[in-house]
Amino acid sequence: MDLDEEKLVERACNGDVEAFEQLIEPYHSMVYNLAFHYLKEYHDASEAAQEAFLRAFKAVKTFKKNSTIKTWLYRITINTCLDTIKKKKNEKRLIYINEAKDGSDGSEIELQIPSSDLKPDQILEQKAIQKVIRDEISKLPKDSKTILILRDFNDLSYEEIAKILNISLGTVKSRLSRARNSLKDNLLKYRELFNTNGSQIK
C-alpha cells in the first residue's frame, strides 16, 4: 500500500466518505465485473457490487496495512456475491411456491460487446462464444468458478489469488488446473461454434 492509500484509509476509518470513494474508485469496474460473473444480471451485479463497497466501508477499520486494497476488496466481493446467491436461492424457492407462471428465471443475459472492426456475422459469433463461455463458467462449482474468474478474467497472479482465498500456492495451481479442465470438457459440446472461428477444439 502506498502512502496516499494509507492516508485515505486513515481518513475513511474516521468516516470520511470522500476519502473512501477515492480509495475504491480504481476498483469499481473490477468489483462490478466480478459480481457480474457470479450473478449474470446487470441489476443484481450492480446491487452486489455496491453492497460489497458498503461492507468494505463499514469494515475499513479491520483493513490490515500489510495487505492490499485490491485483494481485500476481492475477498469482500466474493463473499458478498456468495451471500447474494444464497439469498436469491431462498427467494426463488418462495417464488416457485407462490407463482410458477412467468417461466423466465431472469438468468438470461444479453451481452453488450463494445463496437469493433469485426463484420456483423463475426460480432454475432464472438458474442455467442462469449455468452457460451460465461454461461459455462457460471455453471462450474463455486471453487472452480471463483479461481477461473480471478485468474483468467481478472489476470491476478497465483500469489494474489492465494492471498484472497487464503489457500496455498499449490492449491491455487491444482484447483485452477481442475477448473480449466472442467470448463474445457463442458465446452466440447459447442465444438462447432468454436470451429468456425478457427478453433483448436476438435
Binding site: S29, F36, Y42, K58, I133, D152, D155, Q200
Partner: protein, 84 residues
C-alpha cells in the same frame, strides 16, 4: 512419468508457472504424445478465450447510487455516535 503427470503441468505451463526444467520436460513430451499435445492446445485455447472476455461497462448511475448509500450509512453512524 505417466501422461496424467504431464497433464497436471499443462495449466501452470500456460501461466508460465513451471520451472525451466519442467517446461522442457513437458515440451519434449508433447512432441511425442498427440493426446497430451491436443490437451495442451485445447486448454490453451479455452484459457485464451477466457482472457478475451469483454469487461462489462459500469452502469451509468453506479457511482451516484453508491455515493448516496455511503453518505446514508455514514450519516446513521454519525448520529448514533453523537447520541451515545
Amino acid at each position: 512419468m505417466y501422461c496424467e503427470n504431464y497433464r497436471e503441468m499443462i495449466s501452470p505451463y500456460i501461466d508460465g508457472m513451471l520451472t525451466e526444467n519442467e517446461r522442457a520436460i513437458l515440451e519434449k513430451h508433447v512432441l511425442d504424445c498427440d493426446e497430451c499435445k491436443n490437451e495442451l492446445e485445447e486448454i490453451k485455447f479455452v484459457t485464451e478465450h477466457c482472457h478475451q472476455l469483454e469487461k462489462m461497462p459500469l452502469p451509468v448511475d453506479f457511482k451516484e447510487q453508491l455515493h448516496s448509500k455511503l453518505v446514508n450509512i455514514e450519516g446513521i453512524r454519525h448520529n448514533s455516535r453523537n447520541s451515545s
